[in-house]
């Protein structure tokens, strides 16, 4: 049975959370650490935007400032996500592990199976992944991730509960996503410009709306870990962030996630390869 590392890293600030995901992804990609499932939360509300999303077009930064919401760009694809009352998962693994397949679609499907198994341990049996590729067409034109449900994302009764995004690099993938404890459509409508939430419901939901009692985040994290271990047929070993990962994450907070250049999207193209060498 394959061994994975389980990290339950609790609440952290926005830039730190994304920096740590990237640092873990790197260490797993180069084989320094086991494939890793990390579960975490947010110590302050954060709006994360997709790798190529147009921040200045899509985000009302004045509203974010007034509401104390940090805006941070991810290395993963997809649209804006407001991280508030949620449990976040991240999976860093080499491509091609048994059960995960080599491609994007298989990885999404495997992760979705773990999430659905975890939700069912919480007593939520109606959660289902959205069907495979190419559904629906071009939802990324929306500013908000939770405005549409695409392949293998988790919805209940047509309302999206878990939104996910992926990065693939050097034979490995990072997938992270938000498991909502509470829906926050009204707030999302205030911080995004091109967001239908300001006009009509987005069709998102949270565990508090779906279960008789709002589960605490620790319970959700434990259930997701158990569900993933069962669905993937792996052994999760409780572990820690390595000193190298922590150091790399601290560096990335400064060089990337708190950098106006990165967050504005004005990164030099050489950032990704050619002139800068392997990225």
């Amino acid at each position: 049975m394959t061994a994975w590392r389980l990290l339950d890293s609790g609440p952290g600030p926005g830039a730190w959370n994304l920096a740590l995901d990237e640092a873990i992804f790197h260490s797993v990609r180069v084989g320094e650490n086991l494939p890793t499932l990390r579960l975490y939360r947010w110590s302050s509300r954060t709006l994360s935007i997709g790798y190529s999303q147009d921040r200045d077009r899509d985000v009302d930064r004045e509203a974010c400032r007034a509401l104390g919401i940090e805006v941070v760009r991810r290395v993963t694809g997809g649209r804006a996500v407001l991280h508030d009352a949620e449990v976040t998962y991240s999976v860093s693994a080499p491509a091609g592990l048994p059960g995960f397949g080599a491609g994007l679609d298989e990885a999404y499907r495997a992760v979705a199976a773990g999430l659905v198994a975890g939700l069912s341990l919480l007593g939520l049996r109606a959660a289902a992944p959205a069907p495979g590729p190419r559904q629906p067409s071009r939802p990324a034109r929306q500013a908000a991730c939770f405005a549409s449900t695409v392949r293998h994302e988790i919805a209940v009764g047509g309302r999206k509960l878990i939104g996910s995004a992926q990065r693939r690099e050097g034979g490995a993938f990072l997938q992270h996503g938000s498991i909502l404890l509470e829906s926050h459509e009204a707030l999302l409508g205030r911080v995004l410009r091109r967001c239908p939430a300001s006009k009509r419901p987005l069709r998102m939901t949270g565990l508090a709306d779906l279960l008789p009692v709002r589960p605490d985040p620790e319970t959700v994290a434990a259930a997701i870990a158990s569900g993933c271990a069962a669905a993937w047929g792996v052994r999760l070993l409780g572990g820690d962030v390595s000193p190298e990962e922590a150091r790399a994450a601290r560096g990335l907070v400064e060089s990337r996630y708190r950098s106006e250049e990165w967050n504005a999207g004005r990164r030099p193209l050489a950032d990704r390869g050619a002139e800068a060498g392997p990225g």
Binding site: Y51, A102, R134, V150, Q166, R167, L269, R272, A274
Partner: protein
């Protein structure tokens, strides 16, 4: 799925078409199907030096950002500017209008690392490709 016989292929699902001293590069039909709707293609500037099999850019689809790997070493001679406004061309016509960059290749020896259409099709049939 289409695998034009006049192209060469990589395990990272790039294709190469030789046009004189230039190699035109794109991603395969298989790759665009895997990625789904492509929303963004990021490429290096003209003149940037690529190294074979090293990442040179990214392609973002609805749900993933993936590296593009150079099939050959050389300097970028052309980039497909049309993809900036309409990245979905890669989905619609991956071997034609959806080309991504052209490279002035230097070392014909590097072609030995590339696959023929038949070899690529066989590679896709292997588990873990």
């Amino acid at each position: 799925m289409l695998f034009p016989a006049d192209l060469k292929y990589t395990k990272e699902h790039a294709w190469v078409r030789v046009e004189g001293a230039e190699a035109v590069v794109g991603i395969t039909d298989h790759a665009q199907k895997q990625l789904g709707d492509i929303v963004f293609v990021e490429v290096p500037k003209l003149g940037a030096a690529l190294s074979q099999l090293k990442p040179f850019g990214v392609v973002e689809s609805v749900k993933s950002v993936s590296d593009l790997h150079a099939p050959l070493s050389g300097a970028v001679t052309r980039v497909n500017d049309a993809l900036e406004a309409a990245p979905e061309i890669v989905n619609k016509d991956p071997y034609g209008a959806g080309w991504i960059i052209a490279v002035g290749f230097k070392d014909p020896e590097e072609f030995k690392a590339l696959m023929s259409a038949g070899e690529y099709e066989a590679y896709l049939g292997e588990p873990g490709s």
